[in-house]
């Protein structure tokens, strides 16, 4: 630094004496900086700082390199070089020394995606997923307009359409619809009732779309229910508070599997015989309940973080309790807890794999079943299937966490100082 300052100061001194000694050579520009010594800057300097700063650090670095040399080549060979990319059946994959059997994943891709859904009707699943993806993109795109409309479409219209597309209308619903059509003399309603898609029972549903369905239902139900439970827990009314605390603490204290067992075996006992929920409906209820109580705790954290002055200010303006919550408190509380909310979404998405315990054919169950297929069975099949499934889950969960980080930055942009 000192060698940078000296030419400047000497230049100034010289310029003062210019009238006295007119013909002195004066450098008019600062001489260019020399590059830093090799050991400080550049790759070598970086390595000295970050990899070899002390004996301990250096040995750790060498240990890590040794680990990578030991693991990485084998991994790359297994995943890519020795992998079987296309084969009609499992013979090539059973050969000794063969790597991952991607041909098997390719052959089973439809099964992984749709389970046993009738193959000539999978367009119904595709269409449902496409509409859902479009609405989700609309909701999640940061600068999109009319998000309220998208929310209504997603929460109210989309479930109806999705049910109609995926399941179709059963005879009971169809009769009700045509009765309503007669009652109101409505032509489109009669058309829907007459030309409904054939019913595909939930026992045929499976694969990725069931995983996404369980996760979506969990997310869509848990957010409003979680907010309600959190408000109940913070309310001054002892009965509401006691009921909410009891529900939250009981469900949070037990594993999801027992909640699913309960939904599967006890729920049908608790309702009249004719109301007994569908076999897919039961785990959906269990997962939604489980996700809601965790969401309630996240939202409660946000409610506690809102300064008391906000409550008092809203009350001083004469707002009713609901107006205060809706306009002042919840917008702030929910912004604070966005990371927590996304974390519980990620946990929920991973937890959807557990519905397999009550006989639902989700994506992981499909992968776990397909590996037993005698046509393909072999020593590498299990690992291939699991690596494929892990990639799928990783992409979703990692994407969610990155999205939440981005949103957090956007929302707190005006607030940080």
């Amino acid at each position: 630094m000192s060698d940078m300052a000296s030419p400047v100061s000497s230049a100034r001194q010289v310029s003062v004496r210019q009238d006295i000694v007119p013909r002195t050579f004066v450098r008019s520009q600062v001489s260019p900086d020399l590059p830093p010594p090799l050991a400080v800057g550049g790759v070598i300097g970086w390595m000295r700082d970050n990899l070899f700063s002390s004996v301990l650090t250096s040995s750790l670095t060498l240990l890590s390199i040794a680990f990578l040399i030991w693991a990485l080549p084998d991994l790359v060979r297994w995943l890519f070089i020795d992998a079987i990319w296309s084969a009609p059946d499992g013979d090539a994959c059973r050969a000794p020394g063969a790597g991952a059997c991607w041909a098997y994943v390719n052959a089973k891709l439809e099964f992984f995606a749709y389970g046993s859904y009738p193959r000539d009707m999978v367009w119904r699943v595709d269409l449902t997923l496409l509409i859902g993806a479009g609405l989700a993109a609309w909701l999640l795109w940061p600068s999109a307009k009319h998000k309220a409309a998208a929310l209504v479409l997603f929460l109210v219209v989309y479930p109806v359409i999705a049910f109609h597309l995926l399941h179709g209308l059963g005879p009971g619903l169809r009769a009700t619809l045509s009765l309503l059509a007669d009652l109101f003399g409505s032509k489109p309603l009669a058309d829907v009732a007459a030309n409904s898609l054939p019913v595909v029972g939930t026992n045929l549903w499976g694969g990725v779309f069931v995983s996404l369905l369980v996760a979506t239902v969990g997310i869509v139900v848990s957010l409003p229910l979680g907010v309600l439970l959190a408000l109940g827990r913070r309310s001054k009314a002892p009965v509401a508070r006691f009921l909410c605390v009891m529900l939250i603490e009981i469900v949070r204290g037990v594993p999801l599997i027992t909640v699913l067992f309960m939904a599967n075996t006890m729920l049908p006992l608790f309702v009249p015989e004719q109301w007994s929920p569908d076999r897919l409906m039961r785990p959906l209820i269990g997962v939604a309940l489980f996700a809601s109580v965790y969401m309630a705790e996240v939202v409660r954290g946000g409610l506690q973080a809102v300064p008391k002055g906000q409550f008092e200010g809203a009350m001083a303006l004469g707002m009713s309790w609901w107006a205060m919550m809706r306009l002042i408190i919840l917008p702030q509380a929910l912004t604070i807890v966005i990371p927590g909310v996304v974390n519980s979404f990620i946990a929920l998405f991973k937890d959807t794999t557990l519905v397999a315990i009550v006989g639902i054919f989700d994506f992981l169950r499909a992968v776990d079943t397909a590996r037993l297929d005698p046509v393909w069975a072999g020593p590498t099949i299990s690992a291939t299937g699991y690596v494929f499934a892990a990639t799928f889950y990783f992409v979703f969960c990692f994407g969610m966490s990155r999205y939440s980080m981005m949103m957090e930055r956007r929302l707190t942009r005006g607030r940080s100082h």
Binding site: L51, A240, T258, I357, A390
Partner: protein, 400 residues
Amino acid sequence: MSSAPAGVASQTEPPRTPFWRADWARGALWQALLLSAFVWLMWAAIDNASVNMRARGVPTDFGFWNRPAGFDINQTLVPFTSAGSTYGRAFTVGLLNTLLVAFFGIIIASVLGFLIGIARLSRNWMVARLATIYVEVIRNTPLLLQLLFWYNAVLAPLPNPRQSVELPGNIYLNNRGLFVPEPLFGVGFDWTLWALGIAIIASYAVKRYAARLRVETTKRLPVGAIAFGLIIGLPALAFLLAGAPLSWSTPELRGFNFNGGVRIFPEFVALLLGLSLYTAAFIAEIVRAGVLSVSHGQSEAASALGLPRGRLLRLVVIPQAMRVIIPPLTNQYLNLTKNSSLAVFIGYPDLVQVFAGTVLNQTGAAVQVISITMAVYLVISLVTSAGMNLYNRRMALAER
């Protein structure tokens, strides 16, 4: 009807709110409605359940508890036979297996988690990067997938006992499980344990004496070295004096299987591995956040006072980080315990697999069995959080 008294009152004292518009009355009304809705719901559920259970011929009492179970469990910590043992005994076996895997899982996950959390904070770029990759991959994939991977893709393709993988220390790994030497304790081994107990008490006494000595005379005793010497030396002395009463039964290949030693079932190995590796990633993040939460000024001030790095960490950073770390850490321990219920997917006989699985299927007593299972986990959770609240209160007092 009852508005008459209010009307009279409003004539004598004009600006009084009629009680049906008062806050307390509205609150009471809402609460009464909520309570009656809840009671009605409960009553309807119980009524329906009793009707449905009678219609399906499902038992409504706990009589099954003392009836013989008639099925086998491979890993049992207490004696269990399919012929003579009851369903109640099966419950005990399942509960003990859950606690066993949770106990070892917590130990391994803590050690690994602390190491990885510190590695993520390391100034060594490579170590920090590797730790980050580990945490991200583990946290973003489902635990069930990892368990199935360990069980079906790693442990199942292992060779048969004749071609076992031999690990140092007479440990053998094959598709029937992990075979490790079994310690056989001879007469007089209890002396060693007594010596260990005495050493621990003595170390504690030395620590207290050293603290007093430092306050009174500023003299510093090497407490760590003394305690280490006591805890290792005293039991070792007792062990040698008693004539080294310990021998090992090593596993040996006889025909197609191993004799001697302890067989650890592959289900247990897979579950322990999966649970500890999964939880370690979460613990690593907690440790990292805890260490980062200690403000930089604290370590700078400690350095300015001339504390060497080791004591700086031990006396300044770690105590403050632990205050942030311990509550979420306890939560992770609870999560690990609850997640051990995933054992049912790979056939490890834990509480859920044995009791809520086999016993439920055989007896059909769904309501009773699920309630008991949930109650067990609930009791574990509530006891732990009660302890946690106590700890938090103590820490909060110590703070200011």
